[in-house]
Amino acid sequence: MYIKELEIDNFKSFASKVNIPLMQGFTAVSGPNGSGKSNIIDSILFALSLRTARSLRSEQGVADLISNHNKRNEASVKVVFANDNGEEFSIRRYVKKGKNGVQSNYYYNDKPCSLTQIHLELEKYNISPNSYNVMMQGDVTEITRCSAIERRKIIDEIA
């Protein structure tokens, strides 16, 4: 199991649809400050609902995650997973800003589904908000900076 491709559309600094093919093994991502490296990781956390909007550096919630480069008022990120036998599945999250705030829609293999179904599917592969498989900028420092109780809670969640 691995991420085969990301499809990022109008999310943060990705003002138009971008496909990023990924492979197994060790892939490095590099580029100048502010170019959009952390936004790629944020897009994965957003699509799989592994973090709140606020922890994706958006003060005003999900609305801030939609690109401000145009007036489209919508954003979408699709994560395509594949395994060694070539079987694939995808998880997509689409948000639209309307009169009553921002609406999130979730898709499993392009068919609408609920957030709970997404989480149940991901838990089969040990992917959850507490699985420590994604370390955002500054998370490493936080582990030694936080209190001993907070640190113990990390194990509580895993057990």
Binding site: Y2, I3, K37, I127
Partner: protein, 152 residues
């Protein structure tokens, strides 16, 4: 509840001892403030980098704290393996040789799981199988500038 916690704790602690030695040439372990009743206390690190003695976590340097925290992350991963890992500049505090050491550990782990690692440090980029370049067009729009495969 206490049983499942202690089972996870002991397994992660064994992993931590192993990884910490590998990443820092020192010796270290996890420690519960109250082993009898774990939920009434916290979890801390008892760790000495290299041949240092009696190091306190608070007094460690920025790089040493990073190595300790990274050993904990890898210890959790061993206990609960995920299919992919995404790391954002986890090598920021490390000096050249420690970045190289971390890159080797990631290279080993990447044989059984996918690693996507954002980094600005040369030793990390040099060890990767491939590199995705990210840049910004006018007004700050992100553009993927290319994917460089390392020649074998």
């Amino acid at each position: 509840k206490k049983e499942t916690f202690l089972e996870a704790y002991h397994a992660i602690n064994n992993n931590f001892k192993e990884v910490f030695e590998q990443i820092s040439q020192g010796s270290g372990s996890l420690s519960l403030e109250n082993e009898e009743d774990p939920f009434s206390g916290g979890l801390t690190f008892v760790a000495n980098i290299r041949d240092k003695r009696n190091q306190k976590l608070a007094g460690m340097s920025g790089g040493e704290k990073s190595l300790t925290a990274l050993a904990f992350v890898f210890a959790i991963q061993k206990y609960l393996p995920a299919p992919f890992y995404a790391f954002d500049e986890v090598d920021m505090h490390l000096d050249g040789p420690n970045v190289e050491k971390l890159a080797q550990i990631i290279t080993n782990q990447s044989k059984t799981a996918q690693f996507i690692v954002v980094s600005l440090r040369k030793p990390m980029l040099d060890n990767a199988d491939r590199m995705i370049g990210v840049t910004q067009k006018d007004k700050g729009v992100t553009k993927i500038s290319g994917i460089k495969i390392k020649d074998e």
